[in-house]
Amino acid sequence: MASDTSGGVQVLEACNAELNALLGRLPALRFASLSTVDGRAVLAAGVLTDTAVERIAAVSSSLLALGETFARETAGSTYRHTTITADDGLIVVARVPSSRQRLALAVGCDHGGNLALLLGCALDSAATLTRIVDRVDA
């Protein structure tokens, strides 16, 4: 994501604000990661180390690509999102369908969250991020 122009900085700041606002929507949310589809971290919110941010970005990319491939290979269809249920929480990886840049959003919550709310928040945020990156008024 371009950050060497004032416009690019504004987009980054707006995306950062959206990630932080996302975490405020549900008490159970623990992290949100915005990354490129080839696994490079763009932004992250939540209690994450730099190493964790990089690793989440890489794994999100792999999950998104595997999900896209699996949907295409098995159903001849278009991927939407991946959900992961773990012992201590839930994770959603979704595409940010911007026309300017291919991005992935990963959002995780602890065991206090439920999948419907997590998915709703993640997909709403992906839509907001799309509008920001595409510079379309919300």
Binding site: V37, D38, G39, A57, S61, S62, L66, R102
Partner: protein, 179 residues
């Protein structure tokens, strides 16, 4: 105890750095177009490359009878190193693909043979070097010296990853090591 009868399969993995030709080689050998997890490079094109593998490539080749060769390709970029032990699980051998066009083929070779050995030091290995025609200073002897210094006994080839027969020759060489 009932058990599921499965066809005999042989899993081989293609490893190596970005742009060496792993995905290309697998596609050249495969009976049908491989499963691909390519994504566009966010940093822009690297030479001719505009995309990169972010999970793994997969293709199957039926050798004879019930024997199927499963070919997997690792992503080359370092931030996908976590995929290596996952994809290498159950592999019988590795084709290490390196680019001779890189100015640091020897360093790349050293890095990858050590990285693979950390995961499984017993895996048979064949090394294929692509794009040597793009580097007039390419030195195969330097690679042989490296392998000797590292104590690695691996067949070393130059090949065109786009050529089915040349890519298949590396696989045959690896299969011979398994016998």
């Amino acid at each position: 105890m009932n058990s599921l009868a499965v066809a005999t399969t042989t899993k081989l993995v293609f490893a190596g750095p970005l742009g060496a030709g792993k995905t290309t080689a697998i596609a050249a050998i495969a009976d049908v177009p491989p499963v691909s997890t390519e994504m566009p490079l966010a940093t822009g094109a690297v030479g001719d490359k505009v995309s990169t593998t972010v999970a793994f490539d997969f293709a199957s080749v039926r050798l004879d009878g019930d024997t199927t060769l499963f070919l997997y390709g690792l992503p080359g970029q370092e931030h996908f190193a976590f995929m290596r032990p996952l994809v290498l699980e159950g592999a019988l051998g590795v084709v290490l693909v390196l680019s001779g066009a890189d100015g640091d083929t020897v360093a790349q070779c050293r890095y990858w043979i050590r990285a693979l050995a950390e995961i499984d030091a017993t895996l048979p290995l064949v090394i294929g070097i692509t794009q040597t025609d793009r580097n007039p200073d390419f030195d195969l002897a330097a690679l042989r010296r490296l392998l000797r210094d590292e104590g690695v006994a691996a067949p070393l080839f130059t090949f065109d990853a786009r050529d089915r027969e040349q890519a298949a020759q590396l696989v045959r060489a690896l299969l011979l090591l398994l016998d």
